[in-house]
């Protein structure tokens, strides 16, 4: 429906908003989809946030065996935590003192949505998609992330069926922290690889 602005006047729908309403109503009227299914799908999308990915990272930091399973088969390991990731073939790539990983989809915006939610605007932007494959260190510096030249950078371009998650290094000074506390250090951006986790 139209939103009221502060003066109590309705804003007209844009052409594309009109298209969205029209498409949805047509599909429901024709019985192609049900109202219930539409609402469920919307709830599903709302439920997907980077907090889910942070739980996975925190568990991997705490349990070496879980980390090994995560690197072997990301989807199965995530499902073992009770997190559903339908239609997602997850490949988890690990940062080490020698290797830094960063994810992109140069062709569109492929992203592990079922785990992290909707990708940020910059991830979908021309500038990121064009340049991070060619000059990753410079692009990372634009995020305030300095990766020394002696560290190997691996850029992953999600061109097909796999979806990628970066497993960052556990920050120093976090011995004995609970998983929940560790998860609070894990940002969306460090799971894409453009940042590092928050400091302890």
């Amino acid at each position: 429906m139209n939103k009221r602005d502060d003066l109590g006047k309705y804003e007209p729908l844009s052409y594309f908003q009109l298209m969205e309403v029209s498409l949805r109503e047509l599909l429901v009227e024709k019985g192609v989809v049900t109202d219930h299914a539409v609402r469920s799908a919307l709830e599903n999308v709302r439920s997907r946030t980077p907090v889910r990915g942070a739980r996975v990272v925190a568990r991997a930091w705490c349990e070496p065996q879980y980390k090994a399973r995560l690197l072997e088969n990301g989807t199965r390991a995530v499902e073992d935590l009770g997190l559903d990731v339908p239609a997602t073939k997850l490949v988890v790539v690990e940062n080490t003192p020698q290797v830094h990983n960063v994810i992109v989809c140069t062709l569109c915006s492929c992203y592990p949505r079922m785990l992290l939610g909707i990708p940020p605007e910059w991830y979908k932007s021309r500038n990121y998609r064009s340049r991070v494959v060619r000059e990753p260190r410079t692009v990372l510096a634009e995020f305030g992330t300095k990766i020394p030249k002696r560290v190997q950078i691996r850029v992953h371009d999600s061109t097909a069926d796999m979806r990628y998650l970066v497993l960052p290094m556990r920050p120093k000074g976090t011995q004995g922290w609970s998983e929940e506390r560790l998860a609070s250090l894990v940002t969306r951006d460090c799971m894409i690889g453009v940042s590092l986790p928050k400091r302890s």
Partner: protein, 120 residues
């Protein structure tokens, strides 16, 4: 002698969306509050691709193909979900799930309904 650049070939041999490695500006760490209608478009894709177990009515490949078909200017000027809703709707027409005529009448109907509501 300078080689004549064959612009039509350059436009077609490499599609505008295939931008890896092309010169571009600084990355602005933009965040965008996803609007309700945009989230509904995202949810519509989840629904239509059968990800949650329902019937698969289209593929993400068709979504991508129809976005790629928008052409460079539209691609650059449209927002992300404007591209998505256009592409999903095109796909439904291509598949015969809806027709152009049905869409046009529904758009007229919705517009009239909302204008009526505004007048009240």
């Amino acid at each position: 002698m300078a080689k004549r650049r064959n612009l039509p070939e350059l436009l077609i041999a490499r599609s505008h969306h295939d931008m890896g490695g092309r010169p571009a500006g600084k990355v602005k760490p933009l965040e965008h509050d996803v609007e309700d209608w945009e989230r509904r478009v995202d949810a519509m894709m989840v629904l239509l691709t059968g990800v949650l177990g329902g019937k698969r009515l289209m593929t993400v490949d068709e979504l991508r193909k129809n976005i790629e078909a928008l052409g460079p200017e539209a691609y650059d000027r449209m927002s992300y979900y404007e591209r998505w809703v256009t592409s999903i709707t095109q796909t439904m027409i291509q598949r015969g799930v809806i027709t152009t005529d049905e869409l046009s009448r529904k758009m007229e109907q919705v517009k009239a309904r909302l204008e009526e509501a505004c007048r009240k």
